[in-house]
């Protein structure tokens, strides 16, 4: 590289140093200690154990339980919940009157902007036995139950829908705004009903936004910790313990940093796969 391009690359240095030391560094370290038996106490004696941690994980019922719950949490709250509700809201907003649109948008976005822990407390209050949901069900003479005990994974999934739908709504509002009016109007004149227009015209036209949105929602949901921690601590027992909470428990409550990190590495790998797919979706734009 000649001197001029070196001088030009100079401003990137501070960012590069930070990224290498505090992001790439920990990831590399993660890939190393996942293969050791590092524990919280007596760190000097950790030794290389190869794939032992991974073998343990795939035979550990608690781990498999966490994988299953992470899958349920991601599919229910992100793929189905946030994505569909966000699209429905964006589509309805195009027809609704302005005050209703502003009001609904404001409420949904407020839920998104709130700090994670605050959102956790609000939904904890909502789902508790003596909370709002049961009060509402009583009012309608429907059977109430202790949601955080009977259906903890669904309660935290709904919490994630509450908190995360705004993002999909914003992405889809932008995407629908870019569809030329003439196309939908032409279809309407030809007699295509609302559902058919949605299915045959709108959805194919916004498929790139759908892909991007699904990707980002999934990645976001895979790493949710605070929301579940505040609502259930992963319990009762381990019935809402997704992978991030399992990783934390193994590393700190059971002092098995090596094992916890192996789980982290798996999570990181899943994230990387999604991330690569996401990059391919954006391929033409870089």
């Amino acid at each position: 590289m000649n001197r001029r391009s070196l001088a030009r690359a100079l401003p990137v240095t501070p960012a590069l140093v930070l990224l290498l030391l505090f992001l790439a560094g920990p990831i590399a370290y993660c890939a190393w200690i996942a293969f050791t038996d590092l524990q919280l106490t007596g760190q000097a004696e950790s030794s290389f154990v190869g794939f032992e941690n991974f073998r343990t994980a795939f035979q550990d019922e608690e781990f498999l339980n966490a994988v299953w719950l992470t899958l349920v949490f991601t599919v229910v709250s992100s793929l189905i919940g946030q994505n569909t509700l966000g699209l429905a809201l964006a589509a309805l907003m195009r027809r609704a009157s302005k005050p209703v649109r502003t009001l609904t948008g404001g409420i949904v976005i407020t839920a998104w902007v709130l700090p994670e822990v605050v959102a956790g407390f609000l939904l904890y209050a909502f789902f508790r036995k003596e909370g709002t949901l049961n009060a509402l069900l009583d009012l309608l003479h429907l059977p109430s139950q202790n949601w955080l005990f009977t259906l903890p994974i669904l309660a935290v999934s709904f919490a994630n829908v509450w908190r995360g739908t705004a993002f999909s709504m914003l992405v889809y509002t932008a995407a629908l705004g870019e569809i030329p009016k003439e196309i939908t109007e032409a279809a309407e004149v030809d007699g295509a009903g609302g559902w058919r227009r949605m299915w045959h015209i709108t959805l194919p036209m916004i498929r790139r936004s759908i892909g991007t949105n699904l990707m980002l929602n999934t990645l976001q949901t895979l790493s949710v910790f605070g929301l579940i921690w505040v609502m259930t601590r992963g319990g009762p027992g381990d019935r809402s313990q997704t992978l991030p909470l399992f990783m934390y428990e193994q590393a700190f409550q059971n002092s098995m940093i090596g094992y916890g990190t192996a789980v982290a590495l798996l999570l990181l790998l899943v994230g990387s796969v999604f991330s690569v797919v996401y990059m391919r979706l954006l391929r033409t734009e870089v």
Binding site: P11, C30, V230, L265
Partner: protein, 280 residues
């Protein structure tokens, strides 16, 4: 005939859409209503109900240095410091990426894009282990550095996209007058992309202000805890939870980020920059 028929249909559709949206809004507003009503209620519990008389005593009770001011100040130092670092580094890094072509731009940008979507939660355990080894655990500066690094990929990506929107011709005059890169960045490019810089700043700050896991892992001393972690104290070992006070604290803690969001959303006509940015 046909015209009124169309108008009727349009009106009916609008009413249906309004009804649908209002139903969703009603479901979404319940948890928010709880926090507002309980904060004003002297006998708050866990369900949404009209307060038994409106009072500010919950706010009075929490506005002490132990409960509110110290944690908020800690949050401000932590998130303010990390945001400043993020924005400065991102602006510097985005400049050559946006202005000069180089064979390294594409791989760098692809790595950044890849890092943007990594689940940062996953690396908190190794970060903890690493911070113990290099003695950065339980330090504000260590936490600030990690916060900044974790936010940087997205900040650089966003900043570069905004910077691409500033025409290069405007700088060329300055270059012929002998201005260096740094001067044209600070005097010409950044002022012209003011709203873009504001978006990156506010977005980074809001993300960090609400983040729980990072300070929860990296800080141990109670006096250093930011509000996102100290809020757990309401559920500590004191037995009874004062729900009214918890609600009041939640409001005090959330207000700054909501105001900041409103500020940038207005400036960008509906807050679409982020939606646009993630689209590429």
């Amino acid at each position: 005939m046909a015209a009124t028929h169309f108008a009727d249909r349009r009106r009916n559709r609008r009413l249906a859409a309004d009804a649908g949206l209002l139903a969703v809004a009603a479901a979404f507003v319940l948890p928010l209503a709880w926090v507002v009503l309980s904060a004003l209620d002297p006998h708050a519990d866990l369900r949404v109900k009209a307060p038994d008389g409106v009072t500010l005593e919950n706010f009075d009770a929490i506005l002490t240095s132990d409960i509110t001011f110290t944690p908020l100040l800690n949050s401000l130092i932590l998130c303010g410091g990390a945001t400043l670092l993020t924005v400065v580094c991102a602006a510097l890094a985005a400049y050559p990426l946006s202005r000069f072509s180089s064979r390294l731009n594409r791989p760098f940008l692809l790595s950044i894009l890849f890092a943007t979507s990594l689940p940062i939660t996953a690396i908190m355990v190794p970060v903890y282990a690493l911070f113990v080894q290099v003695d950065l655990i339980d330090t504000l500066q260590g936490t600030i550095l990690f916060f900044a690094a974790s936010q940087l990929p997205f900040a650089i990506w966003l900043m570069k996209n905004f910077m691409d929107g500033v025409p290069k011709e405007l700088e060329e005059a300055a270059w012929t007058d002998g201005a260096g890169s740094l001067q044209s960045l600070t005097r010409i490019v950044l002022p012209l992309m003011g709203p873009g810089v504001a978006v990156v700043t506010v977005f980074s700050f809001v993300m960090m202000w609400g983040n729980f896991f990072v300070p929860f892992m990296l800080l141990l001393t109670p006096d250093q805890m930011p509000a996102s972690v100290s809020i757990n104290e309401f559920f500590g070992n004191r037995g009874m939870v004062a729900y009214g006070q918890l609600a009041a604290f939640s409001i005090v803690y959330s207000t700054p980020v909501i105001l900041l969001y409103v500020l940038i959303a207005r400036r960008l006509g509906g807050g679409f920059a982020l939606g646009g940015a993630v689209k590429g």
